[in-house]
Amino acid sequence: MPKRSNEPIFWSLFGAGGVVAAMVLPALVLITGLAWPLGLLPEAALAYPRISEFAGSLIGGLALFVVISLTCWHAAHRIFHSLHDFGVHRGLGVWKVICYGAALVGTLWTAIQVLRLLFA
């Protein structure tokens, strides 16, 4: 059997992550990074009881898992393919393991935290 490229798998994750990031990240960054710290949102918006209830629910945990892990895969793919543009031409095999390995670690780590919250 001819050796098949694994690129479609990584591209699919990149594409899915790109869509998710494009849809939700600006609003999320605005809320957690700017509006809440600057006092434009009610103090209780990010309060512990509220957020732990959300993240500990099946839907909330799943949403956080999808957003964090797919953003990791999206960014890893883009950074890996940009190395060439920054003059990195050697050792791409190692870089591929580093980039996608980091995304895999991020995915597993997220899954563990979501499960911890779900069964807390």
Partner: protein
């Protein structure tokens, strides 16, 4: 074997030569900031799983001036990602038919922006 004397065009700073190259590099560079935000969220999630006290530590970080400045940059990168992502969407979408006509590129782009606006609105309302 004699050393080759071929002229090799220098590539240093190539992305500053053409505004399109610069835009391309900014688009690809947005990934670094998206990755950073994913890590910040993951940190928050981990702190949350650790209990109220460690979660408060994450909130304290979010309130620091450095974090606000950083998130300003991240918001710019995320906004640019959204803009460019839907701009190229027609090239990545399989041809969609509307009756016997192909769905125009502009409709796909606008559909993307409209869904982005709707999703953002829902997130902001839920968060409030």
């Amino acid at each position: 074997m004699a050393a080759r004397n071929t002229y090799v065009r220098p590539m240093a700073g190539w992305y500053r030569r053409n505004p399109r190259f610069t835009a391309y590099m900014l688009r690809e560079g947005s990934a670094v900031f998206l990755a950073l935000y994913a890590l910040i969220l993951l940190w928050g999630l981990t702190a949350l799983a650790g209990g109220a006290e460690s979660y408060q530590g994450w909130l304290d970080f979010l309130s620091s001036p450095l974090s606000v400045l950083l998130h300003l940059l991240i918001l710019a990168a995320a906004g640019y990602h959204t803009y460019t992502w839907f701009q190229v969407a027609p090239k990545a979408t399989p041809p969609l038919a509307l009756g016997s006509r192909r769905l125009p590129d502009q409709a796909i782009i606008m559909g993307g922006y409209a869904s982005f606006a709707l999703v953002s609105l829902v997130i902001l309302i839920v968060a409030w």
